[in-house]
Each structure stands twice: as structure tokens, then as C-alpha cells.
């Protein structure tokens, strides 16, 4: 009895033809209802603002007036603005240094965590802890650490008989200070990714290489690193995007661009143009430049790695 009911059911399905294909009507209507809010969000939060940011970048819009079309005037202004280039330079320098530390150091820590040690889980959590802590709250701790007068870091330096530093207040040390904070804050994430990658490498590969007489170093270079490549890709890509977007810790630790504009990032510049000076059009032009930089970098990164992926299976 039940069997026959099952056989009957398919016949009762309503089918419709759309764009040359046959669909089940109920599936299409359900999908339409479910997808509608998603598509509205995509339109309102991505498509519309992206179109607008492009359009506004060619206008002299400010906070108070709609603005008129001014062609590439905003981009010309940016090209002539030393502050803009300073911000790009700072961001690039920060990104390169952070990527080097974040990737290199994280790999070393992950390799160490992957060796045979006690309390591995505890250690792993410790390195990961700063990642989950909100960035502003942890910035406050480090503002104190970096205080030239009463900060623990200078007290340590003095204790060691070294010259105290100006840290966040010094033109030459501010960016480095934020870099220290940033590496402390973010490295655990990469450690975790590398560690998972290392633990997913089958023991048999390493055992086989040992049988063949490979040293630890050789198995690292020839087996582990190539197999970690997809993860390294991901880390570098996310790293580039995130460092070019960096703002919160910069704005909290060194408001308005830091001493001599030395910690101003591209986003700091955009924020300043838009919300301090009200130059919306110009800020949009800077946003477009930022987008192009991120896009080009991730494309280069993707191209470089597409040809080098290995698969031992």
C-alpha cells in the first residue's frame, strides 16, 4: 500500500519550463522565497555601493552637497598628494613586514608544536588566545605597554641598561610598535592553519622519506613545505587583504595618523578625507585605488601559485 503511494507521488509534481529547462515548480518557488532576502542584501550591500563608489569618485561630492561630475580630478589630486603616497607607502611596508613575520614565524612555531612535546594542547591554545580577543580591548593593553614613561616595555629596556624608546609616540618607532602588536595579535591564526596542515600530512610520507635516508631538513623542504603550499597560499592571500584593510588598531593606538603621519594607512587616509574633511568624492577615489591594489595583489598571488600546487596522492 505504502509502496504504491510512493510511486504515485512523482506524477503529482508540477513542472515548469524556464529558460529552456524543466524545473519542479515547488523547488523554484521555495528557492525564490529563500533567495530573495539574500539577493536584496547582495544588491544593497555590494552591487549598489560598488556602482556608487565608482560614480562618486568622479564627482566633487562632499558631506553637504551632492556634487557634480569632475572627471578624473579626484585621482589627479591623489597623485599630487604626498599624504596619500605616504599612506600607501606605510601600508605596503606594514603589509610586507607583517606577512614575513606572520608567515615565517607562524611556520616555525607550527613546526615546533608539531614535534613531540608535552602540553601541546595548552601551548596551542596559548598562541591562539590573542586571535579571539577583540582588537580594541587588546590595543588598550598595548597602549600602556608602549607608554614611554610608565610602560612595562621601557621599564624592561631600562632594567637591561638600554635606552628607552618613544614607541607609539616616535616617528621612527610608531609603525614598528603597531607591527609588534599586530604580529602578537594575529600569528596564532596562521599557526593553527599551518599546524592543521602539518598534522594532515600522512605519517607514511615522512616514514618513507626516513627509510630513504632523508634528514629532518630534507623532509621539510621536499615534503612538508610543498604539501603546505595551499595553506600558505591562503595565509598570504588573507594576509594581504587584511593588512591593506587595517584600521581599528591604528585608529585606537595612534589616532589621526600617528606622529608625522607615520602610521597612517590607506584606510586612515580614506577615513580622514571622508569624515574629517568631508571630501566624499575624493575618499571614494582613494577607495577605488585601495580596491585595485588589493585586487591586483591577490590576482598576482593566485597566478603565482596556480602553477605550483603539488599532489602526492
Amino acid at each position: 500500500m505504502k509502496e504504491s503511494a510512493r510511486e504515485l507521488r512523482p506524477a503529482s509534481i508540477h513542472r515548469i519550463r524556464l529558460f529552456g529547462h524543466v524545473y519542479e515548480r515547488e523547488q523554484v518557488t521555495t528557492a525564490a522565497i529563500l533567495m530573495a532576502p539574500v539577493l536584496v542584501a547582495v544588491f544593497m550591500l555590494f552591487i549598489l555601493p560598488v556602482v556608487q563608489v565608482v560614480y562618486y569618485s568622479f564627482t566633487n561630492m562632499t558631506t553637504s552637497k551632492r556634487g557634480t561630475f569632475v572627471g578624473i580630478e579626484n585621482f589627479k589630486y591623489l597623485l599630487g598628494d604626498t599624504k596619500f603616497f605616504k599612506a600607501i607607502g606605510n601600508t605596503a611596508l606594514f603589509a610586507v613586514l607583517k606577512l614575513i613575520f606572520d608567515t615565517g614565524l607562524a611556520l616555525i612555531i607550527a613546526l615546533m608544536l608539531d614535534s613531540h612535546i608535552p602540553m601541546r594542547k595548552f601551548l596551542r591554545s596559548t598562541y591562539f588566545a590573542p586571535v579571539v580577543v577583540p582588537v580594541v580591548a587588546s590595543s588598550l593593553i598595548w597602549i600602556w605597554f608602549f607608554d614611554p614613561d610608565v610602560g612595562p616595555l621601557n621599564l624592561i629596556l631600562q632594567g637591561l641598561g638600554l635606552e628607552p624608546l618613544l614607541w607609539l609616540n616616535g616617528k621612527s618607532t610608531a609603525l614598528a610598535s603597531i607591527l609588534i602588536f599586530s604580529v602578537w595579535k594575529g600569528i596564532g591564526y596562521n599557526v593553527m592553519l599551518f599546524l592543521t596542515g602539518l598534522q594532515n600530512i600522512p605519517d607514511s610520507y615522512i616514514e618513507a622519506s626516513k627509510v630513504d635516508g632523508a634528514t629532518w631538513w630534507q623532509s621539510l623542504i621536499k615534503i612538508k613545505l610543498p604539501l603546505l603550499r595551499p595553506i600558505t597560499n591562503f595565509i598570504v592571500m588573507i594576509g594581504i587583504i587584511n593588512t591593506f584593510k587595517v584600521f581599528a588598531e591604528i585608529d585606537v593606538m595612534t589616532p589621526t595618523g600617528g606622529p608625522g603621519y607615520s602610521t597612517a594607512m590607506i584606510v586612515t587616509y580614506i577615513y580622514e578625507q571622508a569624515f574629517t574633511r568631508g571630501k566624499m568624492g575624493r575618499a571614494c577615489a582613494a577607495s577605488i585605488v585601495l580596491f585595485i591594489i588589493i585586487f591586483v595583489l591577490t590576482q598576482i598571488q593566485g597566478k603565482m601559485n596556480a602553477s605550483k600546487t603539488v599532489d602526492y596522492d
Binding site: R6, Y23, E24, Q27, V28, M35, V38, A41, V42, L45, F46, V50, Q52, Y56, I109, M112, H116, I117, P118, F122, T126, Y127, A129, P130, V132, V133, P134, V136, A137, S138, L140, I143, W144, V150, P152, L155, W184, G188, L193, T196, Q199, N200, I201, P202, D203, S204, P230, I231, F234, I235, I241, F247, D251, V252, Y271, A274, L290, F295, T298, D313
Partner: protein, 286 residues
């Protein structure tokens, strides 16, 4: 192949015990761990210190007496309770809407056949290439009328392609047979979603939700732009102003930080395993 699979599963957890512990590496890692955790220890200890404890030389490790004054000082200096409630409310709402949207989208993409399915998936994927900082200004202008409202804080942050694809990957691991048999029993597609798919991915969805919540809790740039009045400021923004307000009273800043970190710390301790899993999962998926 079968052996490799088994090894892959096993190596992650069980390593042969016959080897001796590598003590030098352990020591290095311990030193590093101390450096990682030191700021938090310092923060907690200092939140109980008095002003004179802070400004003595040589610096004191432990507070002279455990006093809670700094904690009450935070509430006097800034409307901290208000910020806290704002942060909880907006983060929870953002997470809720974000997860609902992601479940809807992911369910439709994985389980339903409809025209434009591929194209929509690609469109959603493309949004990942546009970081919010790029669209900040038009977003601000679009949301201008919602300045200093909760809706203004919440709405622009409810969509994440990342979460959609995370949940999509959970859904893909649900056996199709489950849905098919529910269908044969006469369930509609909505019913299948609510009664078959969601319950089967419950733990994964809650991981994604926690992930989203943590992101919203620390969210900075957007709430900074869209709020002017104290009444609607969230915790991170309030804390930025605390730095100026407290004028180097670090012990007060530390008390505020402790309180801001608390919910995160609780989540981290309770759900560390899921957190780590979801992070590594998102890393692998790329």
C-alpha cells in the same frame, strides 16, 4: 589509498609514544607562550591596582590591595553599561540575521534546483573580493538616514559570503537520502529545511554563529562611522573614547578591557574545540 585515509585521521590525534619528549623545543615554546599570555595576565592584575601602584618604580607586579574601584570608575567615566548592552544587542541581531540569510542561501543552493543557481553562487562568491572598507562611503550615504539607530549599525553587517559558503559546506555533507525520504513522506521543501537539514547541521551552524558573533563583537570601523551619539555607541567605539577620557589612568582602561573581553573569553573556554575546527575548516576550504 585506504591506508592513507586512516593514517590521515589518526596522525592528527595519536602520535606514537615511544619517542622521548623534545625538551629544548618545549622550553622555547613555553617562553613564547609566556610572551603571548603576559599581556592578559598584566591586564587582569592591573585592573585591581591603584594609581600609585601604576606609577611606582620599580613597577609592581601585584596590586597592593585588590580593589574594585577601577571597575566602578569605568562606569562613571563613560556610559559603559549602555555600550555593553548596545554591543550585545547589535552583535546578537547581526549574528541572527546573518545566520538566517546564510542558511536560506546555502539550503537553496545545495538542495534546490532553480534557474540561475550557478550564476547566483558566483555572484555571492564575487562579493568576497569587495572588502567593506572599499564601499564604506556609499554605504554611509545609503544608511545616512539611519544614523544613530540600531538598524543603521546592524543592517550593513548582516551579509557574509564567507558564512554562506561555510554553511554550504556543512550542508553538502548531509546525505541526500535524508531529504529524499522526507520528500517521499510528503514534506515540503521548507519543512525539509527546518526539520531535516537544520537539525542535522545544528552543531556546525552554532559554530558558524559563534564565529560570526565574535566578528561582530569586535566590529569597529562601521559602528564608528554610523554612530555619533553616546546612546548608540558600541563597546569598541566607547573604549576608543575611554583612552582619551581616562587620561593615562591605565588601571581603569584595564578594568574596561577585562569586561570587554569577558564574553569572548567565556566562549573561547567553552567552545575552543569548535572554534579551532571552524577556523581550520575555513582555511582548508580555499
Amino acid at each position: 589509498m585506504e591506508n592513507t585515509r586512516a593514517a590521515l585521521v589518526k596522525t592528527a590525534e595519536i602520535k606514537p609514544r615511544r619517542k622521548k619528549y623534545n625538551i629544548p623545543i618545549f622550553v622555547i615554546l613555553m617562553l613564547g607562550a609566556v610572551a603571548m599570555i603576559f599581556p592578559f595576565v598584566w591586564m587582569i592584575l592591573s585592573s585591581f591596582k591603584t594609581t600609585s601602584d601604576i606609577y611606582t618604580y620599580p613597577p609592581k607586579w601585584l596590586p597592593s590591595t585588590f580593589n574594585w574601584q577601577n571597575y566602578s570608575a569605568v562606569f562613571k567615566l563613560i556610559p559603559f553599561a549602555r555600550y555593553y548592552v548596545n554591543s550585545i544587542y547589535t552583535s546578537v541581531m547581526q549574528t541572527f540575521i546573518q545566520i538566517a540569510l546564510s542558511i536560506f542561501g546555502a539550503y537553496a543552493i545545495v538542495f534546490l534546483d532553480f534557474p540561475g543557481r550557478r550564476k547566483i553562487t558566483t555572484l555571492i562568491r564575487t562579493t568576497m573580493f569587495v572588502p567593506m572598507v572599499v564601499t564604506l562611503i556609499p554605504m554611509y550615504l545609503i544608511m545616512n538616514s539611519l544614523q544613530d539607530t540600531y538598524a543603521g549599525i546592524i543592517l550593513p553587517q548582516v551579509f557574509s559570503a564567507f558564512t554562506i559558503f561555510l554553511i554550504l559546506s556543512f550542508f553538502e555533507s548531509i546525505p541526500r537520502d535524508l531529504c529524499d525520504s522526507a520528500k517521499l513522506d510528503g514534506c515540503g521543501y521548507f519543512k525539509i529545511m527546518f526539520h531535516v537539514v537544520i537539525p542535522n547541521a545544528k552543531s556546525s551552524i552554532s559554530t558558524a554563529a559563534m564565529f560570526a558573533f565574535l566578528g561582530h563583537w569586535k566590529s569597529y570601523t562601521w559602528p564608528l562611522i554610523i554612530t555619533n551619539k553616546d546612546k548608540y555607541r558600541t563597546l569598541p567605539i566607547g573604549m576608543k573614547y575611554l583612552v582619551a577620557e581616562s587620561s593615562k589612568e591605565y588601571q581603569v582602561m584595564m578594568a574596561a578591557s577585562v569586561m570587554a573581553i569577558m564574553p569572548v573569553l567565556i566562549l573561547f573556554v567553552l567552545f575552543e574545540k569548535q572554534l579551532v575546527k571552524s577556523i581550520t575548516l575555513t582555511g582548508m576550504k580555499s
